[in-house]
Symmetry: C2
Subunit: 643 residues, 2 copies
């Protein structure tokens, strides 16, 4: 049976009832449709707590169209409960009605209404804080004071002070509660971070890679992500450029995990021992970086699990183990795992073993995992694994590397992935970017999916980067770093590495997945200074940590894309204007939605380019911009209103 | 724990899990997001049954973006259950993969794949219909026939005939079911009907009103709706034109229900006795009409309940019963009911008594109720009452007369109202109509709320009808009757009664709510012929019974509104082009979305005006129209493609 009030469409929530996502220190707007029959006024509040903790409450206010809102700011990581409570505000209703009646007829004694008010305030006084009671009881006496005039008696109850004392006093005669929602609160890095991916073997192993960390940190990155660091199989090992037969000195793909030396909890001997690994993690921390590891649940034919647990793999009628296929392509160097063995005990042991891989690396200080191809493993597995790990280590972050259909990507985010790779790499035109960001910023998706934009990965060299000039690399970097709070690049990007494997293949020529790669980090053409300036601007402006406040503004040229972001906590606003053509200059007149920028339509204001330091003074909503990619791909403006 | 497959966002459904609505003989499109990890092909079906009945199944087909659909056509009224089932189509996956492999490498024996196919077909044969098994087992033998070539063996399994036999065979190894959804199936009249409201007392009571029924039926109406037929209170009775003091001969408002003669189950003596009522219902049926009664849960101070059950009313501190108020307005002739008496036994008795009113009139052949102000009664009451009545009489129809905020109106529909009054009366401009219809046609609202458009009611004379010419009445009638499957008018409309109570009041001058009204039904200016022609067109075209297929098309003039509707079962299409200006002629070039009309972009086709019989031959998507309101408010076109 329905409650006395209706509380519908409470948010944030996910379609399937999994926890919505929030950040420590980030504003969570709780919303609900709240109404009841008739015309009485209502009151509502949100209550919330860390699971098992103490409830806190926040009053909700009516926005429009029976939609109520409250803003919460979580202060600790982990699972939270959230509930909306609403009740009829009998006092506000009485006050509203009696004021109208008194104004409409000065001769009506309103004796009954006055006594109704006295009874009501007397009843609510019992539910009010103790210190408020004397004043409330005095109001009751004033209402009933026959020696006073009608309006004097009324004023004893209508006084603003009485209303203030009764605000938020819960009237339990028709108190109605929504279902409980859950919220997963992550630490700040889970929602605002710049990632940098590198192959330690190209740097001479973990010890050598540790020497790169200072430079990576200096560019402004927060996370250094390593492809799998485990022993690599030799059976059917792939050669350079993904050839089927490897030479004796070919290093193989790190994703062909497992060899005689061990599996997912072992280190490749060439990278160093566990002390080298711990040293790498420590050196990262010293530089203000966190280490992210790859979590790729697949095995080379040489992985110890293949011998120890053949029941964890798929078998063919001839008894052999099935290798990976995407017909007609064959991946004989990889055995996919069978997550649904016939015996449920085998399934449980397998899933537990998968968790123990994470436990192992967590015990070595890793709290971030980039998960390889999660969409080829059961959703039920992730639904179990991710909360199980986060129950013990709530600060753990999982990035889903799923480039698949939109509903699968959303579902992975819903069942618990902290961040998600996206289609950004294939969104280059203005309309494509506007449409895609529109999807990512819309409820309910924005309540549980955190997109991470990657201009490149070791697998993907796409769009204008293919044989593209450094200006294309600046452009795509600027978009990724300023559109989404979380983004990343794969090393070599700053050197504008641009050679594709073929005109149609999106892989790199001489892909680092199959061979070591030497680079000249001191190349004078390096984009490191540009990257540093963008990351610095990101850190200066909390608006860059926001996604749901992103709004596009119009521009008269289809190559000029314009958007703003606002941080609701600080009011910080940034305005980005980017030329999507990496070759030619473009000019446009913008049509800025001034209220979105916190400005009036005819205001005069300064815009300060956070990348160059240049300041322009604009008036009104239609400024002119001209962007030459040879100089800079776009403006990242802070806005300073002129008083 | 999640199932092996994901089945999300199953529709039709309501946000709160109440039954979605369907009609006997109407197409229900069942939709679901269905996917699983990896790349295997899937199969799915919808299964459904009347509650307690036998399951029927319908195969689902993949539409786009992991959205699957099936079409059902319910055949009986009442509550139904609906569920989506999905499983991995291992055979289709095998077939797809092995065809690619065979094509890619003619020298690969594919021995393992062939044996996999034999095992798979052998396993599925056990689940297939008995008559299919011999052919399937022959295919298994063919696959294993070492005397044949590779491709001969393969073809034994790849033959289309095998695929056809295995289509729909449920593979229970990973069969996954969605939650059960509920569907309420109404009879056709609940979803497609024209209503006509009349005050029988103005026709000399029920016997006199019965003589009007032939004319009402001749105009093409399906339902004749009577305001309350009960005794009317005398205490604080309202006089003519809603004056506070009634003269001795004033008849009072039928909504001030109850007097010494009885309450909601009694008839007003002036209308006739129960035999006259039964006779009216019979005469309606003879004319192909159904009778709708008003269900107004409020009492005059003279209602028997006031003495018998004072606990069913609100009391003031001085012991008196509260009359209705909308401060500062007072309605002393009406006592609202207190649906939440202190004692729950009183609440149950009250709610039961409310149901018994309906039971009484149902026992006299009434199956349609227009419910007065349902938004001032608890949602929990309707949530209980409507299904309780429909459980016993599933053909019962409830129209919600709620002109309130959108979320309350939607919630009333969700908890069980069959049809809903709307804001149509206040939507006159093209953009207003397009926006409002857009809301009404959108999921999920269209799955459970059936809008009923009323150009006028006894309470509402609005927009261009106020002091408006007959052309305004034709215009608003045409919109109501062709935009929504259910609509109604209040009698006098056909006589273009247009005098408002005042320049600001939306009531009629000399409102029939407070006095009898004489009319000359034979007025030569009557719109009855026009109304008849529109209702005839509605009956000829099943597309008019559709709402969710309504699509607007563009026109170059803001006064010309253009839309089409399609009936998915028959393919019937109607195209309406209406001039929203009741005074001046307008012309426009249309921009028709030709595929929506079942036409190619450059087709030549006839459009036949169903109101005038005129036929025009058009070519392409940009025809020209000119509409003079002195002649007709708009075209209602049938479309005939030229071969």
């Amino acid at each position: 049976m329905l409650g006395r009030l209706i509380i519908d469409d409470v948010r944030p929530r996910t379609p399937g009832g999994y926890p919505a996502k929030a950040l420590v220190g980030g504003v969570v707007t709780v919303k609900a449709d709240i109404f009841r029959e008739g015309h009485d006024l209502l009151a509502a509040r949100a209550r919330w707590r860390p699971t098992g903790g103490t409830w806190a409450t926040e009053p909700m206010a009516l926005d429009v169209n029976d939609r109520w809102e409250a803003e919460l700011t979580p202060t600790q990581v982990g699972r939270h409960e959230l509930q909306v409570e609403a009740w009829t505000d009998h006092f506000a209703t009485w006050r509203h009605d009696v004021e109208l009646k008194a104004g409409a007829d000065p001769h009506d004694s309103l004796a009954t209404e006055i006594e109704e008010g006295a009874l009501l305030i007397g009843r609510l006084a019992k539910r009010a804080p103790k210190e408020a009671r004397p004043v409330l009881l005095a109001a009751v006496a004033g209402l009933r004071d026959g020696a006073r005039s009608r309006d004097e008696r009324l004023n004893a109850g209508l006084d603003d002070h009485i209303a203030a004392l009764l605000t938020g006093v819960v009237d339990d005669t028709d108190l109605t509660r929504s279902d409980k929602l859950t919220l997963w609160v992550d630490r700040e890095l889970a929602g605002f971070a710049a990632w940098y991916e590198l192959f330690p073997r190209s740097e001479g192993g973990l010890a050598g890679a540790a020497k790169r960390l200072r430079a990576v940190a200096a560019m402004g990155f927060d996370v250094v992500y390593l492809p799998p660091v485990h022993p690599i199989g030799t059976t059917h090992r792939k050669g350079r450029d993904n050839t089927l037969v490897a030479d004796a000195d070919d290093v193989g793909s790190p994703w062909a995990i497992g060899a005689a030396e061990g599996g997912h909890t072992a280190l490749h001997p060439d990278l160093g021992d566990i002390d080298a690994f711990d040293g790498f993690v420590d050196e990262a921390a010293t530089n203000g970086l966190e280490v992210a590891l790859d979590y790729a649940l697949q095995c080379s034919p040489d992985h110890p699990w293949v011998r120890q647990h053949p029941e964890w793999f798929h078998h063919r009628p001839d008894g052999t183990i099935k290798y990976a296929e995407n017909p007609p392509k064959k991946y004989q160097d990889i055995y996919p795992i069978n997550f649904w063995p016939e015996r449920d005990a085998d399934r449980k042991a397998l899933w537990q073993a998968c968790k123990e891989i994470l436990d192992h690396w967590i015990s070595h200080g890793v709290r971030i995992f980039r998960v390889d191809n999660p969409h080829t493993k059961p959703f039920a597995f992730w639904e179990w694994l991710l909360p199980a790990v986060q129950a013990e280590h709530p600060e753990t972050v999982f990035l889903a590397e799923a480039f698949t259909r939109p509903k699968l990507m959303a579902k992975l985010a819903e069942v618990g992935f902290t961040q998600s790779y996206t289609y950004f790499t294939w969104r280059n035109e203005k309309w494509e970017l506007e449409q895609y960001l529109g999807e990512l910023c819309a409820e309910p998706l924005v309540d549980y999916m955190r997109p991470s934009f990657w201009p490149n990965t070791p697998d993907i060299l796409a769009g204008p980067l293919r044989n593209g000039p450094p200006s294309a690399f600046r452009l795509r970097f600027l978009l990724a770093a300023t559109m989404t709070p979380v983004y990343g690049i794969y090393s070599g990007y700053e050197l504008s590495e641009n050679q594709p494997a073929s005109p149609t293949n999106e892989e790199y020529l001489h892909s680092e997945k199959y061979e070591l790669r030497e680079r000249d980090w001191d190349d004078p053409g390096s984009l490191a200074p540009f990257i540093t300036s963008v990351n610095d601007a990101r850190r200066r402006h909390p608006a860059f940590a926001q996604l749901r406040t992103l709004r596009f503004h119009e521009a008269t040229d289809d190559a000029i894309i314009t958007w703003s972001k606002t941080d609701p906590a600080t009011g910080d606003v940034v305005l980005c204007v980017v030329n999507l053509d990496p070759i030619g200059w473009h000019e446009a007149t913008l049509a800025l939605d001034m209220p979105v920028l916190g400005l009036g339509w005819d205001d005069t204001y300064d815009v300060i380019d956070e990348l160059t330091g240049s300041t322009y003074t604009w008036t009104g909503s239609h400024p002119y911009v001209r962007l030459d990619p040879a100089r800079q791909p776009g403006h990242v403006f802070a806005i300073r209103a002129r008083s």
